[in-house]
């Protein structure tokens, strides 16, 4: 039981980080960046390539994260800004970000080929044992810590800094925010960079398990999006929560139902969540609590 919980949290941390990468972009721009999974992938591929070239692992990891971050900015500049500039209310970004996903994947496959490549083991061979024989690698523990820390840090910045509050204003009404002096473009660029950064970090955390493969983006793009829908698209911290829920339930399904259950079980979860709480598990939870005079802070978008 403890092993299921720990393994679920570890898997969920990666899903949560990818979901958060989706959410930080959506929060500011109202755009779902469907190339988010490919940013995770390109980070992994670059880190693997740098490491294979004999350069130090920290440099490889930094390079991977940097390229994923810049990739996020590139996607905004090439595939999102032009279409939003033409018509802010169109859904052309849906096609353009999907197109970018295919382009990035194809370029990676051309450069590195379809075969999986080795990725630095990092902390994945170091195991921490828990009572009852349960265990996690330090890489997995790091994933849980990083996902939780990223969610908390984002929430602090969002609520406690001028930058975060301007972001909230833009997410509520970008036209009005622009009129009162907010730099919407700068915030949008930063949101896409942050999305790339989070996807890149997720890649560095999961790379030792998945190795480096140009088709990883599809897999993590889909699971990250499912986690986003489970947690709620309105708030990045809810997206991370969705990742943890998805991870735990998927591992539990694998363990207690069938070893193939994690393929279909997440979609059962998402159908149930959408029926019960269409805005996501945690977004609605916060609403319920707000209606009871609880946690919510006036003026926030949570």
């Amino acid at each position: 039981m403890l092993q299921v919980l720990l393994s679920g949290l570890a898997a969920g941390a990666i899903y949560g980080l990818v979901a958060m990468a989706f959410a930080v972009v959506y929060y500011v721009t109202r755009v779902i960046n469907f190339a988010t999974g490919q940013l995770l992938m390109i980070g992994i591929m670059v880190a693997a390539a740098v490491s294979a070239a004999g350069l130090p692992e920290p440099l490889a990891l930094a390079g991977g994260v940097l390229v994923a971050t810049l990739g996020g900015v590139l996607i905004y500049g090439v595939a999102v800004r032009p279409v939003l500039a033409a018509d802010r209310f169109s859904f052309a970004w849906l096609v353009s970000t999907l197109g970018m996903a295919i382009v990035i994947q194809s370029i990676a496959a051309i450069i590195w080929g379809p075969t999986s490549r080795a990725f630095p083991a990092l902390l994945h061979r170091d195991i921490m044992f828990f009572p009852g024989g349960a265990s996690l690698s330090w890489q997995q523990i790091a994933a849980i810590i990083v996902a939780t820390g990223a969610a908390v840090a984002y929430e602090v910045v969002r609520r406690r800094t001028l930058f975060g509050k301007v972001g909230m204003a833009i997410s509520s009404d970008p036209e009005m925010a622009r009129v009162v002096g907010a730099n919407v473009t700068a915030h949008s660029v930063i949101a896409f960079a942050l999305g790339g950064l989070l996807a890149g970090i997720a890649g560095m955390l999961v790379g030792p398990i998945t190795y480096a493969n140009p088709y990883l983006g599809e897999t993590y793009g889909i699971t990250g999006f499912v986690a986003l829908m489970i947690g709620g698209v309105e708030n990045p911290i809810a997206a991370v929560g969705g990742g943890f829920v998805l991870g735990i339930l998927s591992v539990a399904a694998n363990t207690y139902i069938d070893s193939q259950a994690s393929d279909w079980f997440p979609f059962v979860i998402i159908v149930v969540v959408l029926l019960v709480s269409p805005r996501g598990l945690f977004a609605s939870g916060l609403r319920w609590r707000r209606s009871r005079g609880g946690l919510a802070t006036a003026g926030t978008n949570s």
Binding site: Q3, V4, S7, A11, V78, A79, P82, V83, A85, A86, D87, A92, V95, S96, L98, G99, M100, A101, I102, V103, Q105, S106, A109, G113, P114, T115, S116, R117, A118, A121, H124, R125, D126, I127, S135, S137, V206, I209, T210, Y211, N213, Y215, L216, E218, T219, S250, V251, N254, T255, D258, S259, Q260, S262, D263
Partner: protein, 392 residues
């Protein structure tokens, strides 16, 4: 249309078009009335991408040689292939395309064999070479029942590999667990192992079916399987999964201190994907190799040199067996003096001791897979030399 809207439309259009052209596509000589078309379907991307590429390359070498020697029935052969992306829908579309283009046969598919087998039976049309990895894909009701009538598989045979691994486990293990994918590929391996066990009245202690991610080969979450194997008391496990998942499994198992003996499948040592990813954890890993590949004949050495010169990579068994398949097709068509499917099928069923790169190839009405367990040798990975060596 204003300038900004035009720019946006252009950006979207370029991206979508770029995306549409992202998948590697066919190659081959130009079309012409005096040529014969050999279609090729293989997953050259995804977890088994190297296998698919080897199938394509090996067939191409054979076609080049056939054409240099005058072609088939006096006509040059053009080989056209496309990536099916391990997608049955894409595979069936390609099959229909080659059929309507007048192909004489189709090579493959190593990824979507069940699809090409079903379509070959439905259309009475020959498929050759890496039809998945034979086994349950070709013998859909088991090895004692008739095979798919138009599928002639020279590929690595899951029945054969499962059989020799099962026999080795019987001789060396107290209790065997098997992790396998649920496709005819994984089930074929399981069938080979189980048949061997059941013949002696013993049973495997754990049978776990795992749906893999065939895009990446990476199925996160094998930790739970390690616990199940330990709980079942197995001292040996066969991991009939992608090379990526095998590497992930053995690395994690060894990190956790697991000491069980681990067996692979026919893909484990077909190329270096597994050993490159697993590193030192691969030491002692058990697989099987075609015996004649360990002591290659001159024809096989010559092929490997030609292949390396042409493609700048080492030949794998999938390249070699695909080469053989195209060469058998030429032989069969010339004996039949026709490329009509029914006549080709009849002549395929009479192929006896055709000189293949691995040794003599034989097909009969019941025998539509050329490789048996007797053709294989157990090999063990040695981390020092980074080579697969015959046991002992």
């Amino acid at each position: 249309m204003n300038r900004r809207r035009f720019a946006a439309t252009l950006a979207v259009g370029v991206l979508v078009l770029a995306g549409c052209s992202g998948t590697p596509s066919g190659s081959g000589a130009g079309a012409g009335g005096d040529t014969l078309l050999l279609g090729g379907i293989a997953g050259t991307t995804g977890a088994y991408g190297t296998t698919g590429q080897a199938v394509v390359n090996g067939t191409q070498v054979a076609v080049d040689e056939i054409n240099a020697a005058g072609g088939i029935l006096g006509k040059q052969v053009r080989f056209e292939w496309e990536d099916d992306g391990a997608d049955p829908t894409k595979s069936s579309q390609l099959f229909s395309k080659y059929l309507s283009d007048g192909a004489i046969a189709i090579a493959g598919s190593p990824d979507t064999g069940p699809t090409t087998v079903e379509l070959s039976t439905k259309n009475n049309f020959p498929i050759i070479g890496a039809v998945d990895d034979c086994g349950l894909t070709v013998y859909t009701e088991g090895p004692d029942k008739p095979p798919a009538p138009y599928a002639f598989c020279t590929s690595l045979n899951t029945f054969a590999y499962g059989g020799i691994i099962g026999q080795h486990a019987l001789d060396n293990c107290e209790a065997l667990a098997v992790l396998h994918d649920p496709s005819t590929y994984g089930m074929g391996g399981l069938y080979g192992i189980q048949s061997t066990y059941e013949a002696t009245g013993r049973k495997i202690v754990l049978d776990e079916s795992i749906t893999e991610n065939w895009s990446t080969g990476a199925t996160v979450g094998l930790r739970a399987e390690i616990d199940k194997i330990n709980d079942a008391g197995a001292d040996c496990v066969d991991v009939w999964l992608t090379p990526q998942d095998q590497a992930n499994f053995i690395s994690e198992a060894r990190s956790l201190g697991a000491t069980f003996t681990v067996y692979g499948n026919d893909e484990t040592n077909a190329d270096t994907t597994f050993s490159d990813l697993a590193g030192d954890a691969a030491d002692g890993y058990v697989a099987a190799e075609i015996t004649t590949r360990l002591n290659p004949a001159q024809a096989l050495l010559d092929f490997r040199k030609t292949y390396k010169d042409k493609f700048k990579v080492d030949a794998t068994p999938f390249a070699e067996l695909s080469y053989d398949a195209a060469k058998v097709l030429k032989d069969v068509a010339e004996k039949a003096k026709s490329t009509e499917p029914a006549k080709l099928q009849a002549e395929f069923n009479k192929v006896t001791d055709f000189p293949g790169l691995f040794g003599p190839l034989t097909f009969t009405e019941q025998r539509h897979a050329t490789l048996d367990a007797e053709h294989l040798t157990i090999v063990v990975f040695d981390k020092g030399s980074k080579e697969w060596k015959p046991e002992g």
